[in-house]
Each structure stands twice: as structure tokens, then as C-alpha cells.
Amino acid sequence: MKSLQGKPTELLAILGMGVLMLAIWEFLPPALGVPKYIIPTFSDCLNELSRMFARQDMLGHTVSTLISTVIGFILGSLLGAACGYLLGMSPLAEKVLSPYILGLQIAPKVAFAPLFIIWFGYGDIPKLLVTVLIVFFPILVNVLQSMKTVDHDLVNLARVYSMNRWTIFRKIEVPSSLPNLFAGLRIGATLAVIGVTVGEMVGGNTGLGFLITYGEGQANTAMVFNAIIFLTIIGIALYFAVSGVEKRVLHYLERNDQH
């Protein structure tokens, strides 16, 4: 991430690379005779994008996907963290549940999307559920891991100071777990977009995921490209929002990314 504040030459190189790739995208496919409906050029996509904003309510779809992503991410994170801390506090429950958690963690969560549509119909609930489910596990696992690796001597120190279980949780375990929690949140932020996209592709008539299936039906490749690009932007924005919060909260950690 340091490259963004890096030396001006580095920045120039990065920008130059971007321009180069756009140029290749613009000129190479036509030069090779690849038709538009296979790979639309950069300018084709831009034209289609302005059409989509004017006629297809691109703004509405983008905002809808953004809101679903953020809500799904927040709900999934809260649930994942809460379960992680609860299981971390009770080793017995953790032992009993861990094989099931492992099983669910491996199960491809997006495959649940059709099931949720059968159960809850076409609406916002299925895509939110997929997102919550997909965000839930990495955060649960990270928090649980951190609870198991809390420095035992710190806990003993707190006990010698006669702190009770709840105080130890608040003053030692939660702060110790924050780096892990944020690692989970960063993974969750990227996964949330996948959850929403799949939910929108499988059912419903709003959002960028819907535009992908709609564009596919119309053989409108540029529309599909644009939807993918906007989904990526949403993912990047969420990721940077999370890591921005992380930098502020974990300001006390030694940073190694300066060299």
C-alpha cells in the first residue's frame, strides 16, 4: 500500500502502466480482428457506460449493490465476531462445534443462493443471506484463533490484579484479538462483493449482478464488462475503508511496511 505515498517516479510508473494497459485494450483486439461482442474496446465500454447511466439506471443498480454489500458485510462481521468471541470463551462449545464449523467453512457458500431463493423468494433477503454467510466464516475463524492464542501471561497478570472474567475479556482478550479481527474483516470485505454478486445473478432484478446476467442475455458484452468493473470498484472501496479504520485503531502496532 505504501506505493501510493511512494516516490513520484514510482507513481509515474504505475500511472504509465495503467495508460499502457488501456491502450492495449483499446487497440489490440480490433487489430487482431476480435469482434466487439467478444471483447469490446475501452471506448466501447465507455460509450455503453454513458448509455447505461442514461437509460439503464446504472446509478440505481450501483447504489443498490453498494448498500447490499455494506449491510451484508456489517451483519456478517457482527455475527462472525460475536460467535468467535463466544466460542473463544467456552472451550467446550468450541470442541463440540469445531468439526461442523470446519465443514460449513469448506462448503461453497455461494451454492446456497438458489436455496435461499426457494425459501425466501425473489427479494433482498437471499442476497443478504449469502453475503452474511460468506463474510461470517473468515471473521469467526480469525477471532476464534486469536482468542486461543492470547498471551497467557497477560491473562495471569490481570488475574493477579484480581480482575474478573468479563474484565479480562474486555481489557485483555478483545484488544489482543483486534489485529486478527481486522485481518478477518479485510478478507470479509472482498468476499462480501462476491456474495452480493452471486445473489443478484441468481435472483432478482436489481444490482450489478443482475446487469451481468441481463447483459449476457442481450449479448451486450460491454454491459457485462462495465458491471464487473463497478463491482471491483465497490470491493476495492470497501477494502480500503476497512484498512483505513484498521490503521487508526491499530496505530500502536509497529509498522514494517515502511521498507
Binding site: D153, V160, Y161, M163, L178, L253
Partner: protein, 260 residues
Amino acid sequence: MTSSLDLQNITKVFTDAKTGSSVTAVTDMSFSVAPGELVAVVGPSGCGKSTILNMVSGLYGPTEGRVLLDGKPVTGTRPEVGFMLQKDLLLPWRNIVQNVEFGLEEKKMSRADRRAKAMEELTRMQLVDFADKYPHHLSGGMRQRAALARTLAIEPEIILLDEPFSALDAQTKLVLQRHFARTIAETGVTCVLITHDLNEAVILADRVVVLSGRPGRVIDEFEIDLPHRTDPLKRSLEPQAGVYVKRLFDALHLEDQDAA
């Protein structure tokens, strides 16, 4: 107020929950520490020194025997006990003054009093300028001084120290030992100091307890009759100091281990 400590015929057996095998860490161990006294405990690695401190601090009880603080059996952790390890155990998410306040947060005192008390201890440890720095900004010696400030802030009646200086370089160690010797002389607090450093035991302690290899038992115990209790550096230059170190050396049979 300072406390007396009495260990009576302590045996501690650890049983592994998974394999069912058990380890006897210490066996039939007895020694006592008078109020205001500093007793050093030395012994080979794994002989149960840390185990003793954990039992005195009330983290767990002995399998057999009794631990008495001021004549009363220890049944759990108590607010009058201070605790210091080789690791400074500073909380990285708190700045130095907040770290010193940590132990005070369980006491009924106002936020302002807590801050005042913490700053007082930091002044004594010459760390006032670092009050709002985070632990990773400090050197190892400063961090251990901050840990000492935190330990003293709660005005303990007994301080348990588990190799508190062993991770420091030689110079920092000397400075900190002197700091420590002066401070505990001022407060008159009772101390149990576990150490691997025989020289440290002689220059800091009023009395030394020597333990055997596992399972630990007391194999020797003697007073250190040297001047300069508040100045370990001066004390180490006393001719008699070397004699005490030699006695510890012999008691631990370190010579026999040469070949190994």
C-alpha cells in the same frame, strides 16, 4: 504494610489432561520470608521456581501443603500482590501511563487519583517524558522500568519477581538493579526474587534459598551479610560477595556439569 510469607511442605503435581502423565514440579518444600525481607530463589531450570510464584500469587494452589501470607492461607489472587516477569507484559495498545494505571483500575479510586498515582511512579522511575509513548517506542530497560512502576503503583505488600532482569543487556541490568534496590528499600516491601544469575542473587538479596533439580526441594539456605543493600554495584565489589557466589555455585553442583 508489608507481608510475611510462609511455604509449608508444598508439593505440586501437574497432570496432563490428555496423556494422563504427571510431573512433580516441587516436593515437600518449606521456606519463609519475613516482612520487608528480599529472598532470592535460585535453582536449575525446570525445578519449579515459577510454579512457586504462581502458587504464592494464588493463580493455582499446591497439591499438598500450605501457602500462608501473613499467617492466612492463600486461596486465590489478592490485590496486595505485585507480579513481575522476564517479559514486561506491557499492553501494546495502551500508552505508558495507561499501562501503569492498569493495576489501579480494580481499586476504588477516581480517575484523577489514578493518573496522579501513575505519574508519581513514573517520576520515580524517571519515565515521565515517556508517559504518552507506546511500549514499542521504549527500549527494553525502559519497558521493564515501566513494568516496575506498574507493579509498585498498586502499593503491594509483597512483590513476586520471576527473572525480571534476565532479558536485559549487562549495563541496563546494573542500572535497573540499582533502581530496584533503592525503590524497594524506600517502600520496605517484601520480595521474592527468582533468578538464574547467582551474582544478582548475592548483590540484591537478604537471604538466598537454593533448590535442587526437579522435583524441587530446598537444599541450602543462607543469609547474605553484606553492606550497601541499596547499591548492588558497590555490594558486588565487596570481597565477601565472591565467597557467597562460590557457595551458590557449589550448592548447585555447577562444577560437575562442566563436562556435559
